[in-house]
C-alpha cells in the first residue's frame, strides 16, 4: 500500500519532469532545445531540490530542531566565500573550478563549524547550532568586506547569492548527480538509526547506537549533498527548510519514508518553481529562490492549518 503511494508520487514527478520540458520563455521547440537547454536545467532542479530537502531532513532529524535547514552550519556562507575567492583568483563563472571551489569552501565551513562545536569528543546540539551561526556571521562579514572594497565585482556575488538554475558544465552536473544519489542512498540505508535518534540522544545511546559516529556520518552526508546543490544552483533558500516539514505532515515521522518523500517533493517543488521563474516575466527571469519562498510559505501555512483542523476532529 505504502509502496504504491511512492510509485504514484514518482509517476507524478515524472509527469512534472516531462511537462516542464515543454515550458520555457520562448516558443522554440524541437529536440535540440528540449535536450540541450531545458533538460539540463530541469535535471539541475531535480538534483538541487532533492539534495537540499534530504539534507534538511537529516539536520532536522539529528539536531531535533525543526528550524534547521541545510545551511544551518554555515554551508551557504562558505559557498559565498568560495564565490568571492573565485573572483579574487579571476576564475570565470563558466569554468569547472569555479564550482569545485564553491563546493570545497561550503564543505570546509561546515566542517569547521562542526569541529568548533566538538568538545571532548562530544558534540552538543546547541553548541553546533551556535557554532554554525558564528561561522555564518563571520564569513558573511568577510563577504561584505570584499563587496565594499571591490564594488565592481559586487554584482556577480549578489547574483550568486540570489541563486538560480542556469547552464553549468555537463561533467559537473553528472558528478554532482552521482554524489547526491549515493548520499541519499546512504541516508536511506541509515534511516533506522535516524529514527532512533529522534528518541533523544541519550536513549539512542542506551539502545546501543554510537551517537557520535552516526552524527559525523549524517553531517558529512548532509553537508556534502548541500555543497553539491550549492555548486550547481547557488544558494536557494526555503526548500531545505520547508519540504521536510511538508513531507512529515504527509507521510509521518519514519525517516525512511521521510527521506524518500522529501527527495521526491523537493524535486517536484523546485521543478515547478523554476518553470515559473523562467516564464512568468519572459523574456526576463525571476530568481528561483524568490519563487520558492513566495509559493512555499503560503502552501506550508495551508498544510499546517489543514493538519491542525484534522487533528481537532
Amino acid at each position: 500500500m505504502k509502496i504504491n503511494k511512492f510509485i504514484i508520487a514518482l509517476l507524478v514527478l515524472g509527469i512534472f519532469f516531462v511537462l516542464s520540458l515543454f515550458i520555457g520563455p520562448t516558443s522554440l521547440s524541437g529536440f535540440d532545445i528540449l535536450f540541450h537547454i531545458r533538460l539540463p536545467r530541469v535535471l539541475q532542479a531535480v538534483i538541487a531540490g532533492c539534495a537540499l530537502s534530504v539534507a534538511g531532513v537529516i539536520f532536522q532529524g539529528v539536531l531535533k530542531n525543526p528550524l534547521c535547514d541545510p545551511y544551518i552550519l554555515g554551508t551557504s556562507s562558505g559557498a559565498l566565500v568560495g564565490a568571492v575567492l573565485a573572483q579574487i583568483l579571476g576564475l570565470s563563472q563558466s569554468s569547472f573550478f569555479f564550482y569545485i571551489l564553491i563546493a570545497l569552501c561550503a564543505l570546509a565551513a561546515t566542517l569547521i563549524a562542526y569541529n568548533l562545536a566538538k568538545y571532548k569528543k562530544q558534540v552538543s546540539n546547541v553548541d553546533l547550532i551556535l557554532a554554525g551561526v558564528i561561522i555564518s556571521t563571520f564569513l558573511s562579514a568577510l563577504v561584505l568586506l570584499f563587496l565594499s572594497l571591490r564594488r565592481e565585482s559586487a554584482l556577480n556575488i549578489v547574483f550568486f547569492m540570489m541563486g538560480g538554475l542556469h547552464e553549468t558544465d555537463k561533467g559537473l552536473l553528472i558528478a554532482v548527480a552521482i554524489l547526491v544519489f549515493f548520499g541519499i542512498a546512504l541516508a536511506l540505508s541509515l534511516s533506522r538509526q535516524l529514527d532512533i535518534f529522534s528518541l533523544g540522544e541519550e536513549k539512542a545511546g542506551h539502545l546501543g547506537i554510537n551517537t557520535e559516529k552516526y552524527k559525523i556520518i549524517y553531517f558529512t552526508i548532509a553537508s556534502l549533498i548541500t555543497a553539491c546543490a550549492v555548486s550547481i544552483s547557488g544558494t536557494i533558500g526555503f526548500v531545505g527548510l520547508v519540504v521536510p516539514h511538508m513531507a512529515r505532515l504527509i507521510v509521518g515521522p519514519s525517516h525512511f519514508k521521510l527521506i524518500l518523500a522529501s527527495a521526491i517533493g523537493g524535486s517536484m517543488f523546485l521543478i515547478i518553481a523554476d518553470a515559473f521563474a523562467r516564464t512568468v516575466i519572459a523574456p526576463g527571469e525571476i530568481p528561483v529562490g524568490v519563487i520558492t519562498a513566495l509559493v512555499g510559505a503560503p502552501f506550508f501555512l495551508w498544510l499546517l492549518l489543514r493538519n491542525r483542523e484534522s487533528k481537532c476532529k
Binding site: 520562448t26 537547454i37 539540463p40 563563472q93
Partner: protein, 274 residues
C-alpha cells in the same frame, strides 16, 4: 618674539592669499565619474576640489580628494572641503540628497541619463555652473556633429545589426529604457531586447537563441564563455565569431565623453562584414 610675529604674519598673508583665490573660483565636488570627466573636458578642473572614489578618468582625477562614492558619499569629508556646489546623481528613493542639503550645501542634482543625448544636458548644466558656457557649447556642437556623421554612415546599411549585450554573468542584459540600449542604437545596431521597456534585467540563454543576435557584446566574459554554451552555434554571432568582449566597461557605461569613441568604434564593427 619677532620671529614668531614674522611667522604669524606670513601665515596670515598666505591664508588671505589662498582665501582670495577661493572666492575667485568655485569649489566643486563631483560625486559621479561622468561629471568629473566632463569637468576636465571643459577645462574646469581647477575648480574641482573633490571627486568620488570611482573617478579614475582622466588620471589626474585620481589625485583629487576622495569623497566616498555614489551610494555612500562621505558627508564629513564633503562638508570639510567647503564646496560651493556638489554635483550629485538622481539618487532615486534615497534620503542622501536631503541629508546633503541639511548641511546647507548647494547641491546640483542631475537626472539619470537614459539616452546619449542626455549627456548634452549634463554638459550644459556643468558648463553653466563652472562659467565655461562657451566651452560647453563648443563641446556639445562637436559631439552632436560626431553623432550626426555616425548616423549618416549607419543609415547606409541595408539592415540593422541585431545586438545582444550582456552586462553581467547569468544573462543580465539591457532593456529599452537603459543607457546602453541607446548606445547600441546610436551605433546603428538594434538591441534584441528593444521591445522590453525596462532598464536592466535578467534573461535566459534560450531567449538569446530565439532572438538570434548578429553580434554579442559582453562586458564581463570572453568569447570562449559563449562558444561553450549549449546550442551556441545556432546563434549567428557565435557561428560568425562576432563576439566583442574587450570593451572597457567604464568607457561604454558612463554617460560622458569616451562613450562617443565607443559608439564610433561599434558603428564600424557592427557593419564590418556587410
Amino acid at each position: 618674539m619677532r620671529f614668531f610675529s614674522l611667522i604669524l604674519s606670513v601665515f596670515f598673508l598666505s591664508a588671505s592669499f589662498s582665501s582670495a583665490e577661493i572666492t575667485a573660483k568655485k569649489r566643486i565636488i563631483s560625486l559621479m565619474p561622468s561629471y568629473t570627466e566632463i569637468i576636465y573636458a571643459l577645462g574646469a578642473q581647477d575648480q574641482l576640489v573633490g571627486v568620488s572614489n570611482f573617478c579614475n578618468y582622466p588620471k589626474a582625477a585620481l589625485e583629487k580628494e576622495k569623497t566616498g562614492d555614489y551610494l555612500r558619499p562621505n558627508f564629513e569629508k564633503i562638508y570639510f572641503l567647503k564646496p560651493d556646489i556638489v554635483f550629485a546623481p538622481q539618487w532615486k528613493n534615497s534620503i542622501l540628497l536631503k541629508n546633503l542639503r541639511a548641511l546647507n550645501l548647494n547641491v546640483t542634482q542631475f537626472e539619470d541619463e537614459s539616452e546619449v543625448e542626455d549627456i548634452f544636458k549634463t554638459i550644459r548644466i556643468i558648463a553653466d555652473k563652472t562659467n565655461k558656457k562657451a566651452e560647453g557649447k563648443a563641446l556639445i556642437n562637436k559631439l552632436k556633429k560626431r553623432l550626426k556623421e555616425i548616423s549618416k554612415k549607419t543609415a547606409l546599411n541595408k539592415r540593422k545589426t541585431k545586438v545582444y549585450i550582456e552586462v553581467d554573468a547569468k544573462y543580465w542584459t539591457a532593456g529599452d529604457n537603459s543607457f546602453l540600449s541607446d548606445v547600441i542604437e546610436k551605433a546603428g545596431g538594434e538591441n534584441i531586447f528593444s521591445n522590453i521597456k525596462r532598464s536592466y534585467f535578467q534573461t535566459s540563454w534560450e531567449v538569446v537563441i530565439e532572438r538570434n543576435p548578429d553580434i554579442i557584446i559582453s562586458l564581463w566574459g570572453t568569447a570562449d564563455d559563449y562558444m561553450q554554451k549549449p546550442l551556441a552555434k545556432k546563434i549567428n554571432a557565435v557561428s560568425n565569431s562576432q563576439i566583442i568582449s574587450a570593451i572597457d566597461r567604464d568607457k561604454i557605461a558612463r554617460p560622458a565623453l569616451r562613450v562617443f569613441d565607443i559608439i564610433e568604434e561599434l558603428s564600424v564593427k557592427l557593419h564590418e562584414d556587410k
